[in-house]
């Protein structure tokens, strides 16, 4: 009797999946076309047919300890070929959206990022925090700012910003780590311990993320490799730019602002442009071609637009400074700071959290040698 398993259907979980884009899941008749056509699915216990079954039954515990949820990149080869229009790709995306909430510490943050009603409050927090910094520095007396050239350190000193984001990120990443630990332990309980060392698995996963070779295996949504490549490296480049600018300021007492001809500036601008281009591709595909590209739910759109806001306001903040228009420049900088705060501080609870959960799932999958044939052969 040891292999008898008690099924614990969770109807609330099922409802949540349906409202997060998985409303087609009950059309599934378990023909398994999806698992057979998926190029990312491993040969033993492939996805997403078994996830469709678990989702249909509302087996939350199974899905929240399943690495395969994140091994899916929503190529949508399954959804396009599904004979019933059950759209396994969309259901998998809905399961992932739920995971942010499930692993969120504190849990109310996960709910807030999935709930449109909480959006004003989520914006209010960064507005108040950055507003407070502004008040400390200027006392809301902006008259000196209109006198000379646009200089953002007059508005808010860069030290304040760095302190805010560095301390914030450390705190938020620590909270994210609690959720990740819960997920990793859950996977180990359900799927067993890894055979391959953790460090090696991490190393191989990082290589894979850099090369984007999993994206290449998609048939239906090939555009995604280029789009994600641009956004990913744009984002990394922007983070690196911030770090290098900090070093330049603190160590070399150079800037800000940094000269337009300086390599740090090149990196920053190239990164911003890459993000805007990548995100435009995503918006065009997901908005105009949702049947094939996947229909984004609320949290997807929130993430896409917030990331675009960060990149676009960042570039605009620089342009406003160059044309030296204080009335536009300072408010734009404020908006940029609010957008960056939103993106980074809410990272584990928003779709940006995929960078944590997907990475840990890829590491775990590597550690148990759970690789698709397409990647093993390569």
């Amino acid at each position: 009797m040891s292999d008898v398993k008690l099924l614990k259907p969770d109807s609330d979980f099922q409802r949540r999946l349906r409202s997060a884009g998985g409303d087609s899941l009950n059309k599934c008749y378990q023909c398994a076309t999806c698992a057979a056509v998926c190029n990312l699915s491993p040969e033993a216990k492939p996805f997403p047919r078994k996830e469709m079954l678990a989702a249909g039954w509302g087996l939350k515990d199974d899905l929240m300890t399943d690495p395969d949820v994140w091994l899916c990149y929503q190529c949508n080869d399954c959804s396009v070929r599904c004979p019933r229009g059950a759209k396994p790709g969309e259901v998998m995306a809905a399961v992932r959206s739920y995971a942010f909430e499930h692993f969120a510490v504190p849990s109310f943050m996960g709910r807030a990022l999935n709930n449109p009603a909480a959006l004003p409050l989520l914006f209010l927090i960064p507005i108040l925090v950055i507003g407070a910094l502004l008040f400390i520095h200027t006392g809301f007396d902006f008259s000196p700012l209109h006198a000379g050239d646009v200089e953002y350190r007059l508005f808010i000193p860069h030290g304040y910003i760095e302190m805010l984001f560095i301390s914030g990120n450390v705190f938020i990443f620590a909270l994210a780590a609690l959720g990740l630990l819960k997920y990793y332990n859950g996977m180990q309980r359900a799927w067993g311990s890894g055979q391959i060392g953790f460090i090696r698995a991490v190393y191989e996963t990082i290589l894979e993320i850099i090369t984007h070779n999993r994206f290449e295996k998609c048939d239906t949504n090939r555009y995604r490799k280029l789009a994600h490549f641009l956004i990913f490296f744009g984002f990394m480049g922007a983070m690196a730019t911030a770090g290098l600018a900090l070093i330049a300021m603190v160590v070399f007492h150079y800037g800000p602002p940094i000269e337009m001809s300086h390599p740090i500036k090149w990196l920053g601008n190239a990164s911003g442009i890459a993000m805007v281009v990548g995100l435009t591709i995503v918006i065009v595909q997901r908005g105009g071609n949702a049947e094939r590209a996947g229909k984004p739910n609320y949290s997807h759109w929130l993430f896409i637009w917030m990331t675009l806001s960060v990149a676009a306001t960042g570039l605009l903040t620089q342009i406003m400074r160059l044309i030296n228009e204080p009335v536009l420049a300072y408010p734009m900088y404020f908006v940029h700071l609010v957008a960056v705060f939103f993106l980074l501080w809410y990272a584990p609870y928003s779709q940006l959290g995929h960078m944590f959960y997907r990475t840990i799932a890829l590491v775990y999958a590597r550690s148990i040698d759970r690789q698709p044939r397409a990647l093993k052969a390569a």
């Binding site: 023909c31 398994a32 076309t33 057979a36 056509v37 492939p46 070929r81 004979p83 019933r84």
Partner: protein, 423 residues
């Protein structure tokens, strides 16, 4: 070519489609004393059933049953069978219909004795449609071994070829007339049975299953021809690419069926057809591996026994899971990719040949002709008020031979009772 017009003909019942349903309808009506015009677009009667190697329930060759029906047609003066003919226009006329029937030239007259001398002289070949594009045949040919009418015809595409002029010269019966023109015939009828039948779903729309690219991927209907031709010639069934014997075969169920991207409905006969075809292979190859991939085996009523018997065959392996892809394993072998949902593992099975169980699509055209019938969203016909226009056979919905015959008989009974009332 401008068609020649003939004089107006009259009948009690026009049956459109000379397959098993149409033949049954025509024979039943004629044997009840009604005059019948049977209109068939091919140059032979028999429809898709004539292509089958064996059929249910006895797994006997359908040509036996066909022969009995052909004899009933031949001996009944009340039946006029027009082959190579199709309705071009249908209009209400009184309580019945006036139908313009276009008869395509056969280029061979009734004087033909099927001696075959012409075929020896003819040097040009054309694809043999009866064999579903698997073979080519001489441009002047008998439609198939037991065709009715038992007469040669010329493939229209090759009619200009000089070797056919030579054939016309040497024909002992002087039956070849290469100047034959289309004929437009007007027929007044009191009732119509629409039995236009079906065609296989176009497997070229399933590129992921390799049809059209991989030579050893064939449709279920093609496999009937492969088996029938081989056995008729006392040969073994072999695969198309290299004529190798069948060591392993996969049956791919629901290929383009029960699928919103293709045919959303179940064609009702493919599961039994594949189980039947697996027995053709087993009879000749006791050791061949037979793999059947399905979502669920639809074997209604007593056919469950047939399925259970097939499952008892130790070298017939059933896989519960729809095939997602077929890839080339090497120059001629195939890799079938499916998840077996009973083990939960992805399977890559290498076989020598794959048979796609494609579904049945209704032959369309009744709506354009103006026949008072209604159609479901898939194009299958059903009655629409007019009691003297009845659908029958697969034109009215997917079904097997036995059900087609039953439905044809019922349709004729209703149509004739409607005529009875109107006279």
């Amino acid at each position: 070519m401008t068609p020649t017009k003939s004089k107006t003909l009259e009948c009690d019942l026009m049956v459109i489609g000379g397959g098993i349903a149409g033949i049954t309808a025509a024979v039943e009506a004629a044997e009840m004393g009604r005059s019948v015009m049977l209109v068939e677009k091919e140059h032979y009667l028999g429809g898709q059933v004539a292509r089958m190697h064996r059929y249910f329930p006895k797994l006997c060759p359908p040509l036996c049953g066909m022969e009995i029906n052909f004899r009933r047609i031949k001996n009944n003066t009340l039946i006029t069978a027009l082959t190579g003919a199709a309705p071009a226009k249908i209009a209400s006329a009184g309580s019945g219909y006036q139908v313009e029937v276009m008869v395509e030239p056969r280029f061979v007259t009734e004087a033909c004795t099927a001696c075959g001398d012409c075929e020896k002289v003819c040097t040009v070949e054309a694809p043999d449609a009866f064999n579903m594009g698997l073979t080519r045949a001489k441009a002047i040919r008998l439609p198939y071994e037991m065709a009715y009418p038992y007469r040669y015809y010329v493939d229209k595409s090759a009619v200009q070829h000089p070797s056919l002029q030579a054939a016309a010269k040497i024909c002992p019966a002087q039956a070849i007339d290469l100047s034959m023109q289309p004929l437009l015939t007007t027929v007044k009828t009191k009732a119509v049975v629409w039995a236009a039948g079906w065609q296989s779903y176009d497997a070229a729309k399933l590129p992921e299953l390799g049809f059209d690219v991989l030579l050893n991927v064939v449709t279920n209907l093609q496999f009937e021809r492969i088996a029938a031709n081989a056995i008729l010639a006392n040969n073994k069934i072999v695969r198309p690419s290299d004529g190798a014997p069948l060591a392993s075969v996969a049956f791919v169920q629901c290929a383009g069926s029960r699928d919103d991207n293709h045919l959303p409905y179940c064609s009702a006969v493919c599961c039994m057809a594949s189980l039947k075809q697996s027995r053709y292979i087993r009879e000749q190859y006791p050791d061949a591996e037979i793999h059947i991939f399905f979502i669920d085996a639809r074997t209604p009523g007593r056919w469950e026994d047939f399925y259970v018997n097939v499952q008892d065959d130790p070298k017939t392996i059933v896989h519960r899971g729809k095939v997602g892809k077929i890839e080339a394993a090497d120059n001629s072998n195939l890799t079938i990719i499916a998840e077996n949902t009973l083990t939960g593992n992805l399977e890559r099975v290498t076989v020598g040949m794959a048979i796609l169980a494609v579904g049945m699509e209704p032959v369309r055209g009744a709506k354009e002709l103006g026949l008072p019938l209604a159609f479901d969203k898939y194009g299958f016909a059903y009655r629409n008020g007019a009691a003297n226009v009845m659908p029958a056979g697969v034109a009215a919905g997917p079904k097997d031979v036995a059900a087609s015959v039953q439905e044809a008989t019922g349709s004729v009974a209703l149509a004739l009772s409607a005529i009875g009332r109107s006279i």
